[in-house]
């Protein structure tokens, strides 16, 4: 049986990598991919914990997170396309249009 510390550590490191990507990258599509990476890290953590505690709730939550991720992908990429149509770029430094 795989020790519980393995999935928790890998999930934490992957989540941190995704967070750094969101902080550092300027390309909106890459930021989106980093968000997916963070969601996957959380999924891995949930699977590891529920495997350890012998409950079925973790995989169920992973299923719901996947549904939410699919919805987020559709809407997020639509937003990116709408932004690109407006400014011809996906560089997020150009999108400070809400600044007063």
């Amino acid at each position: 049986m795989i020790p519980l510390i393995y999935p928790l550590t890998i999930g934490a490191v992957l989540f941190a990598i995704g967070a750094v990507g969101v902080l550092v990258r300027r390309n909106a599509i890459v930021i989106f991919m980093c968000i997916e990476l963070m969601l996957n890290a959380v999924n891995l953590t949930l699977i590891g914990i529920s495997g350890h505690l012998q409950v079925v709730d973790g995989p169920i939550f992973v299923l719901f997170i996947m549904a939410v991720a699919a919805a987020e992908a559709a809407v997020g990429l639509a937003i990116i396309i709408a932004l690109f149509r407006r400014k011809s770029t996906v560089d997020v430094t150009h999108f400070n249009i809400l600044k007063g």
Binding site: L23, E36, D57, L63, A74, I80, R85
Partner: protein, 190 residues
């Protein structure tokens, strides 16, 4: 069990390398391929955790649907310069600050995890193989979690409608603003 641990380490390493490449690669297409690598590695980790159904769903949903959408968007936008958006990207202080914040975040999460492990003792006679077979998962999904399941379907419907509304362009606007740079083309639509 040693084989399982070695495989686990291998796929975990693959997931981490893919994740680092998603952040570090310059071309968005390379980022997408690295992300695919990470998704596949995590699917393998799911199998090693005894939930093959979720591994298959991971491949279908993430690698099959979401990543295809991302690659399709990259193709659709046809960014003229693959390195677009990277000129100001590697500003040094910001990179260092982000690395420090990321390291702190990872350390904090691992610290909390190690603290939690001591309290979460595994039940006796744990058998991983029987845990998340599709039948158990289906009974839980359509029994205890029926309401969230239905809400998720409504959420997906809302996402479909939202995507259509967001990408619909107003009447009379050109298909794509054809200026190489954004700021001159502004004001084209009301």
């Amino acid at each position: 069990m040693l084989v399982a641990k070695i495989l686990y380490g291998l796929f975990a390493l693959g997931a981490l390398i893919g994740g680092i490449n998603v952040v570090a690669q310059r071309n968005p297409v390379n980022c997408a391929i690295s992300l695919l690598f990470t998704f596949m590695s995590i699917a393998a980790l799911y199998i090693l955790h005894g939930s093959p159904l979720l591994a298959m769903i991971q491949i279908i949903v993430y690698a099959g649907a979401i990543l295809i959408l991302v690659v399709f968007t990259i193709m659709l936008l046809a960014l003229r310069d693959p390195g677009q958006g990277l000129q100001k990207f590697w500003t040094f202080p910001q990179r260092v600050a982000a690395m420090i914040v990321g390291a702190l975040l990872a350390g904090e999460l691992i610290y909390v995890a190690v603290g939690a492990i001591s309290q979460a003792a595994a039940p006796a006679g744990a058998d991983l193989k029987t845990l998340v077979d599709p039948a158990t998962l289906g009974h839980a999904l359509f029994g205890k979690y029926l309401l969230p399941f239905e809400v998720a379907s409504v959420l997906l419907l809302a996402a479909i409608v939202g995507a259509v509304v967001l990408t619909r362009r107003p009447k009379g606007t050109p298909a794509m603003i054809d200026a190489p740079h954004a700021d001159e083309a502004e004001g084209g639509e009301s």
